[in-house]
Protein backbone atom coordinates (compact mmCIF):
# COMPACT_ATOMS: atom_id res chain seq x y z
CA UNK A 1 0.00 0.00 0.00
CA UNK A 2 1.41 3.44 -0.94
CA UNK A 3 1.26 6.51 1.31
CA UNK A 4 -1.47 7.89 -0.96
CA UNK A 5 -3.49 4.68 -0.55
CA UNK A 6 -3.16 4.86 3.24
CA UNK A 7 -4.26 8.52 3.20
CA UNK A 8 -7.23 7.73 0.94
CA UNK A 9 -8.28 4.82 3.15
CA UNK A 10 -7.97 7.03 6.24
CA UNK A 11 -10.20 9.73 4.76
CA UNK A 12 -12.79 7.19 3.59
CA UNK A 13 -12.85 5.81 7.12
CA UNK A 14 -12.88 9.14 8.92
CA UNK A 15 -15.44 11.25 7.04
CA UNK A 16 -18.51 9.27 8.28
CA UNK A 17 -17.36 9.85 11.86
CA UNK A 18 -17.11 13.59 11.26
CA UNK A 19 -20.68 13.67 9.89
CA UNK A 20 -21.74 11.44 12.78
CA UNK A 21 -20.30 13.82 15.38
CA UNK A 22 -21.96 16.85 13.78
CA UNK A 23 -25.29 15.00 13.74
CA UNK A 24 -25.05 13.44 17.23
CA UNK A 25 -24.05 16.59 19.11
CA UNK A 26 -26.09 18.90 16.85
CA UNK A 27 -29.36 17.00 17.26
CA UNK A 28 -29.07 15.51 20.75
CA UNK A 29 -27.26 18.38 22.52
CA UNK A 30 -28.54 21.14 20.24
CA UNK A 31 -25.05 22.61 19.88
CA UNK A 32 -23.94 23.98 16.52
CA UNK A 33 -20.47 22.73 15.62
CA UNK A 34 -17.91 23.64 13.04
CA UNK A 35 -15.47 20.90 12.05
CA UNK A 36 -11.86 21.67 11.18
CA UNK A 37 -10.07 19.97 8.30
CA UNK A 38 -8.70 16.56 9.36
CA UNK A 39 -4.97 16.58 10.12
CA UNK A 40 -2.63 13.57 10.19
CA UNK A 41 0.45 15.01 11.86
CA UNK A 42 -0.52 16.40 15.22
CA UNK A 43 0.23 16.43 18.92
CA UNK A 44 -2.33 14.84 21.22
CA UNK A 45 -5.10 17.32 22.13
CA UNK A 46 -4.36 19.51 25.15
CA UNK A 47 -6.68 20.23 28.09
CA UNK A 48 -8.61 16.97 27.75
CA UNK A 49 -10.31 15.88 30.99
CA UNK A 50 -12.65 13.18 29.75
CA UNK A 51 -12.69 10.91 26.71
CA UNK A 52 -14.20 7.73 25.37
CA UNK A 53 -12.71 5.15 23.06
CA UNK A 54 -14.23 2.49 20.89
CA UNK A 55 -12.08 -0.24 19.35
CA UNK A 56 -13.40 -1.56 16.05
CA UNK A 57 -12.23 -4.65 14.28
CA UNK A 58 -13.06 -5.79 10.75
CA UNK A 59 -11.54 -8.50 8.59
CA UNK A 60 -8.59 -6.31 7.55
CA UNK A 61 -8.48 -3.41 9.99
CA UNK A 62 -8.12 -2.61 13.67
CA UNK A 63 -9.12 0.94 14.48
CA UNK A 64 -9.56 3.03 17.64
CA UNK A 65 -11.91 6.00 17.54
CA UNK A 66 -11.52 8.47 20.39
CA UNK A 67 -13.65 11.45 21.32
CA UNK A 68 -12.10 13.76 23.94
CA UNK A 69 -13.34 16.83 25.77
CA UNK A 70 -12.14 19.63 28.02
CA UNK A 71 -14.46 19.63 31.05
CA UNK A 72 -16.36 22.84 30.22
CA UNK A 73 -17.23 21.66 26.71
CA UNK A 74 -18.25 18.23 28.01
CA UNK A 75 -20.53 19.72 30.67
CA UNK A 76 -22.27 21.86 28.01
CA UNK A 77 -22.86 18.79 25.85
CA UNK A 78 -24.22 16.89 28.87
CA UNK A 79 -26.50 19.82 29.72
CA UNK A 80 -27.76 19.98 26.14
CA UNK A 81 -28.41 16.25 25.95
CA UNK A 82 -29.87 15.55 29.39
CA UNK A 83 -31.34 18.95 30.28
CA UNK A 84 -29.62 19.11 33.67
CA UNK A 85 -26.64 21.14 34.81
CA UNK A 86 -24.33 18.76 36.68
CA UNK A 87 -22.49 20.09 39.73
CA UNK A 88 -19.72 17.50 39.54
CA UNK A 89 -18.47 15.08 36.92
CA UNK A 90 -19.55 11.85 38.64
CA UNK A 91 -19.72 8.42 36.98
CA UNK A 92 -23.29 8.92 35.72
CA UNK A 93 -22.27 12.20 34.08
CA UNK A 94 -19.09 10.69 32.63
CA UNK A 95 -21.23 7.98 31.02
CA UNK A 96 -22.35 10.69 28.57
CA UNK A 97 -18.94 10.60 26.86
CA UNK A 98 -19.62 6.98 25.98
CA UNK A 99 -23.10 7.72 24.69
CA UNK A 100 -21.82 10.51 22.43
CA UNK A 101 -19.35 8.06 20.89
CA UNK A 102 -22.04 5.37 20.62
CA UNK A 103 -24.17 7.72 18.56
CA UNK A 104 -21.25 8.82 16.40
CA UNK A 105 -20.33 5.17 15.73
CA UNK A 106 -23.93 4.24 14.97
CA UNK A 107 -24.24 7.10 12.48
CA UNK A 108 -20.92 6.24 10.85
CA UNK A 109 -21.36 2.46 10.72
CA UNK A 110 -24.04 2.40 8.05
CA UNK A 111 -22.01 4.65 5.70
CA UNK A 112 -18.82 2.70 6.42
CA UNK A 113 -20.52 -0.53 5.38
CA UNK A 114 -21.35 0.96 1.97
CA UNK A 115 -17.62 1.81 1.65
CA UNK A 116 -16.54 -1.76 2.34
CA UNK A 117 -15.68 -1.39 6.04
CA UNK A 118 -17.79 -3.84 8.00
CA UNK A 119 -17.19 -3.41 11.72
CA UNK A 120 -19.07 -5.44 14.30
CA UNK A 121 -20.59 -4.54 17.66
CA UNK A 122 -18.40 -2.41 19.89
CA UNK A 123 -18.86 -0.74 23.27
CA UNK A 124 -17.16 2.49 24.38
CA UNK A 125 -14.83 2.78 27.37
CA UNK A 126 -14.76 6.09 29.25
CA UNK A 127 -11.44 7.58 30.42
CA UNK A 128 -10.83 10.44 32.85
CA UNK A 129 -8.12 11.53 35.29
CA UNK A 130 -5.17 9.15 35.48
CA UNK A 131 -6.72 6.61 33.09
CA UNK A 132 -6.43 9.11 30.18
CA UNK A 133 -2.71 8.36 30.00
CA UNK A 134 -3.36 4.72 29.04
CA UNK A 135 -5.95 5.45 26.39
CA UNK A 136 -3.74 5.47 23.30
CA UNK A 137 -2.36 2.37 21.56
CA UNK A 138 1.39 1.82 21.80
CA UNK A 139 1.93 1.94 18.03
CA UNK A 140 -0.10 3.37 15.17
CA UNK A 141 -0.18 2.83 11.41
CA UNK A 142 -2.11 5.99 10.64
CA UNK A 143 -3.97 8.66 12.60
CA UNK A 144 -6.22 11.63 11.99
CA UNK A 145 -7.64 14.39 14.17
CA UNK A 146 -10.57 16.74 13.73
CA UNK A 147 -11.44 19.59 16.11
CA UNK A 148 -15.08 20.55 16.58
CA UNK A 149 -15.51 24.18 17.55
CA UNK A 150 -18.60 25.71 19.14
CA UNK A 151 -19.66 28.75 21.17
CA UNK A 152 -18.87 26.68 24.27
CA UNK A 153 -15.40 25.47 23.33
CA UNK A 154 -13.77 22.68 21.37
CA UNK A 155 -13.72 18.90 21.46
CA UNK A 156 -11.74 16.39 19.44
CA UNK A 157 -12.23 13.26 17.41
CA UNK A 158 -9.28 10.99 16.59
CA UNK A 159 -9.13 7.95 14.38
CA UNK A 160 -6.17 5.68 14.97
CA UNK A 161 -5.47 2.79 12.62
CA UNK A 162 -3.43 0.14 14.41
CA UNK A 163 -0.80 -2.04 12.72
Amino acid sequence: MTTDDVEKEGKLLFSPYISGALEAVGVQAKIVLEASEPVRNYDRPKGVEIASKLSMISKDLSVDIIVSFPQEMFMKIYEGMVGETPETMDDEVKDCAGEVLNMIYGQAKTTLKTRGFDFGRAFPTVYSGDSLAGMYPVSTKDQMLVSFNSDYGTFYLELIVKP
Binding site: A24, M81, V82
Partner: protein
Amino acid sequence: MFDPSIKLLVVDDMATMRRIVIKSCMELGFESFVEAPDGAIAIERLEENPDVGLIICDWNMPNVTGIEFLKKVRTNDQLAKIPFVLLTAESEVSQVKEALEAGVDNYIVKPFTVDILKRKLQDTYKKVNS
Protein backbone atom coordinates in the same frame (compact mmCIF):
# COMPACT_ATOMS: atom_id res chain seq x y z
CA MET B 1 -52.72 8.97 20.35
CA PHE B 2 -50.61 7.44 23.12
CA ASP B 3 -51.67 7.52 26.74
CA PRO B 4 -49.04 9.30 28.87
CA SER B 5 -50.55 7.95 32.10
CA ILE B 6 -49.10 4.50 31.43
CA LYS B 7 -45.90 3.27 33.10
CA LEU B 8 -42.89 3.18 30.81
CA LEU B 9 -39.93 0.79 31.01
CA VAL B 10 -36.71 2.35 29.68
CA VAL B 11 -33.88 -0.11 28.97
CA ASP B 12 -30.39 1.09 28.05
CA ASP B 13 -26.92 0.23 29.35
CA MET B 14 -25.98 3.92 29.20
CA ALA B 15 -27.45 5.98 32.07
CA THR B 16 -27.24 9.10 29.89
CA MET B 17 -29.55 7.68 27.26
CA ARG B 18 -32.05 6.51 29.89
CA ARG B 19 -32.10 10.09 31.20
CA ILE B 20 -32.55 11.51 27.70
CA VAL B 21 -35.47 9.16 26.99
CA ILE B 22 -37.10 9.89 30.35
CA LYS B 23 -36.64 13.65 29.99
CA SER B 24 -38.08 13.56 26.46
CA CYS B 25 -41.04 11.42 27.56
CA MET B 26 -41.72 13.76 30.48
CA GLU B 27 -42.01 16.57 27.94
CA LEU B 28 -44.71 14.45 26.28
CA GLY B 29 -46.57 14.10 29.58
CA PHE B 30 -45.33 10.71 30.83
CA GLU B 31 -44.84 10.59 34.61
CA SER B 32 -44.21 7.00 35.60
CA PHE B 33 -40.98 5.20 34.70
CA VAL B 34 -38.93 2.14 35.57
CA GLU B 35 -35.38 1.67 34.33
CA ALA B 36 -33.08 -1.25 33.53
CA PRO B 37 -29.46 -1.32 32.30
CA ASP B 38 -29.83 -4.53 30.27
CA GLY B 39 -32.33 -7.07 28.99
CA ALA B 40 -31.88 -9.49 31.90
CA ILE B 41 -32.73 -6.88 34.53
CA ALA B 42 -35.51 -5.57 32.28
CA ILE B 43 -37.30 -8.94 32.58
CA GLU B 44 -37.08 -8.65 36.39
CA ARG B 45 -38.48 -5.10 36.21
CA LEU B 46 -41.43 -6.37 34.15
CA GLU B 47 -42.14 -9.07 36.72
CA GLU B 48 -42.03 -6.47 39.52
CA ASN B 49 -44.14 -3.96 37.52
CA PRO B 50 -47.00 -5.79 35.78
CA ASP B 51 -48.56 -2.41 34.96
CA VAL B 52 -45.82 -1.43 32.47
CA GLY B 53 -47.63 -0.34 29.31
CA LEU B 54 -44.77 0.59 26.98
CA ILE B 55 -41.13 -0.47 26.54
CA ILE B 56 -38.44 1.71 24.97
CA CYS B 57 -35.25 -0.34 24.69
CA ASP B 58 -31.76 0.09 23.28
CA TRP B 59 -30.56 -2.37 20.65
CA ASN B 60 -26.84 -2.59 21.40
CA MET B 61 -26.36 -3.70 25.01
CA PRO B 62 -23.98 -6.14 26.68
CA ASN B 63 -25.38 -9.35 28.27
CA VAL B 64 -28.95 -9.61 26.96
CA THR B 65 -29.24 -7.33 23.89
CA GLY B 66 -32.34 -5.37 22.87
CA ILE B 67 -33.33 -7.88 20.22
CA GLU B 68 -32.87 -10.83 22.63
CA PHE B 69 -35.01 -9.02 25.23
CA LEU B 70 -37.64 -8.30 22.57
CA LYS B 71 -37.80 -12.01 21.69
CA LYS B 72 -38.21 -12.92 25.38
CA VAL B 73 -41.06 -10.42 25.72
CA ARG B 74 -42.81 -11.60 22.56
CA THR B 75 -42.67 -15.26 23.61
CA ASN B 76 -44.08 -14.60 27.09
CA ASP B 77 -47.90 -14.74 27.04
CA GLN B 78 -48.26 -12.17 29.80
CA LEU B 79 -45.90 -9.64 28.24
CA ALA B 80 -46.32 -10.27 24.52
CA LYS B 81 -48.81 -7.46 23.89
CA ILE B 82 -46.79 -4.62 25.47
CA PRO B 83 -45.88 -2.08 22.75
CA PHE B 84 -42.13 -2.28 22.17
CA VAL B 85 -40.04 0.50 20.62
CA LEU B 86 -36.40 -0.21 19.85
CA LEU B 87 -33.80 2.52 20.17
CA THR B 88 -30.83 2.15 17.87
CA ALA B 89 -27.81 4.17 16.84
CA GLU B 90 -27.90 2.49 13.44
CA SER B 91 -30.37 2.71 10.60
CA GLU B 92 -29.06 -0.35 8.83
CA VAL B 93 -31.83 -2.06 6.85
CA SER B 94 -30.87 -5.59 7.92
CA GLN B 95 -31.06 -4.60 11.59
CA VAL B 96 -34.47 -2.98 11.19
CA LYS B 97 -35.71 -6.03 9.25
CA GLU B 98 -34.54 -8.38 12.03
CA ALA B 99 -36.32 -6.24 14.64
CA LEU B 100 -39.56 -6.14 12.65
CA GLU B 101 -39.45 -9.92 12.18
CA ALA B 102 -38.96 -10.34 15.93
CA GLY B 103 -42.12 -8.31 16.56
CA VAL B 104 -40.94 -4.78 17.33
CA ASP B 105 -43.68 -2.17 16.96
CA ASN B 106 -41.40 0.69 15.99
CA TYR B 107 -37.81 1.90 16.12
CA ILE B 108 -36.11 5.23 16.79
CA VAL B 109 -32.67 6.07 15.43
CA LYS B 110 -30.37 7.99 17.79
CA PRO B 111 -29.87 10.95 17.90
CA PHE B 112 -33.52 11.98 18.08
CA THR B 113 -35.62 15.02 19.00
CA VAL B 114 -38.74 15.15 21.19
CA ASP B 115 -40.79 15.71 18.02
CA ILE B 116 -39.40 12.52 16.45
CA LEU B 117 -40.14 10.57 19.64
CA LYS B 118 -43.71 11.94 19.73
CA ARG B 119 -44.33 10.97 16.11
CA LYS B 120 -42.87 7.48 16.62
CA LEU B 121 -45.04 6.90 19.72
CA GLN B 122 -48.14 8.13 17.87
CA ASP B 123 -47.35 5.77 14.98
CA THR B 124 -46.75 2.92 17.42
CA TYR B 125 -50.12 3.30 19.12
CA LYS B 126 -51.90 3.75 15.82
CA LYS B 127 -50.39 0.44 14.68
CA VAL B 128 -51.04 -1.37 17.99
CA ASN B 129 -54.68 -0.20 18.12
CA SER B 130 -55.52 -0.89 14.47
